[in-house]
Symmetry: C2
């Protein structure tokens, strides 16, 4: 239901969506005010009216993707206990993100941050929740196990985010997602092995 009077932000939203799409398809370099505005079906000047600068719009795009992804991740991981299940869900998430290009937005913003003063800190701020989410999911999965006692969840989370990012970039580069797929298969096997050797944390009453 729409209000006839103000209807405050349809253009703003369209610009953000267009910015996301442009980052996915044309990368950071291709994400100019003109390119984004054209994709949004509106004009270039509105970007500066609504966001002040192209950079701010791109950050809004990153916020959008970040929020959406973290929401979906939370739903997916909510009902996960064992490491095996976690890997299974992570594989699913990874493939979804890869095909939809969600991570491309992140990767392009990180790389682009090298070129725009001050952007790095803003991007870092927005990546922190991803790492924190991974840490929490990992802790819930291996927190009570011997492995969890040896390997700090925070460090592992950092590695997972980095690997996630690197795999996306390589997959995107030559359009081949097979190597990444095989890796997740491998991770699944290792997780299965882990569940049999170490004590699992799922519903084990001692």
């Amino acid at each position: 239901m729409e209000r006839g009077g103000t209807r405050s932000a349809p253009t703003r939203r369209r610009l953000v969506e267009a910015a996301v799409e442009t980052l996915k398809e044309d990368g950071f370099v291709g994400a100019s005010a003109r390119a984004i505005a054209e994709r949004a079906g509106s004009n270039q000047g509105l970007i500066f009216y609504h966001f002040g600068s192209v950079t701010n719009l791109l950050l809004a795009a990153l916020d959008e993707v970040s929020a959406e992804r973290l929401h979906d991740y939370g739903e997916a991981v909510g009902r996960v206990g064992s490491p095996g299940e976690l890997v299974e869900v992570a594989t699913d998430i990874f493939l979804t993100d890869l095909d939809a290009g969600h991570m491309t937005v992140l990767a392009e913003m990180i790389a682009g941050a090298s070129s725009v003063p001050g952007l790095g800190a803003e991007v870092a701020k927005r990546i922190h929740p991803w790492r924190e989410f991974a840490r929490s999911a990992i802790e819930n999965s291996i927190g009570g196990t011997p492995l969890g006692a040896v390997v700090p969840a925070g460090d592992l989370a950092h590695a997972v985010v980095a690997l996630y990012l690197g795999l996306e970039m390589l997959s995107h580069l030559d359009g081949d997602r097979q190597p990444a797929l095989r890796l997740f298969g491998l991770a699944g096997q290792l997780a299965g092995l882990l569940e049999m050797t170490g004590a699992s944390s799922t519903s084990t009453t001692d």
Copy 2:
């Protein structure tokens, strides 16, 4: 010792070096013909004379870094046997690359490839040797062990390159190399564990 007559390619080399530095400091977006030429102390037009386009110069820069790195890697890994030693050497290499910004060149080129048609394939071509090198080093290290029988070296190499890339991007983003450092420490511990449980491949005559 310099020849007085032709002295064929000093400018060309200076441009390549300047391109490398510019990619490191200002990223793909900042690596314009004018910015590179200024850093090289020569003028913009020479880039097109020598390389035809900025993109070609950037690829030459990537070639340069790639060749130099693979050479150094080869030297370092040449005398490595056990997984523990491999991790040790890898840590050293990683820190060197991180501080020198070698991987930044790679990361920026991969990210920038999204924006320039045809660049992706060229960059992919130049990354292939890195993966192949990693595969070979891994195979030499765990090839004869039980782990090597379960985990394909090629898949692991892909993961290593991806992780390497991802860690560089995250470290570069917020200027904090501590998380990456802790990870390598962790990897060292795991490798040590591996050497004790599984059979090591180093000089074991049965």
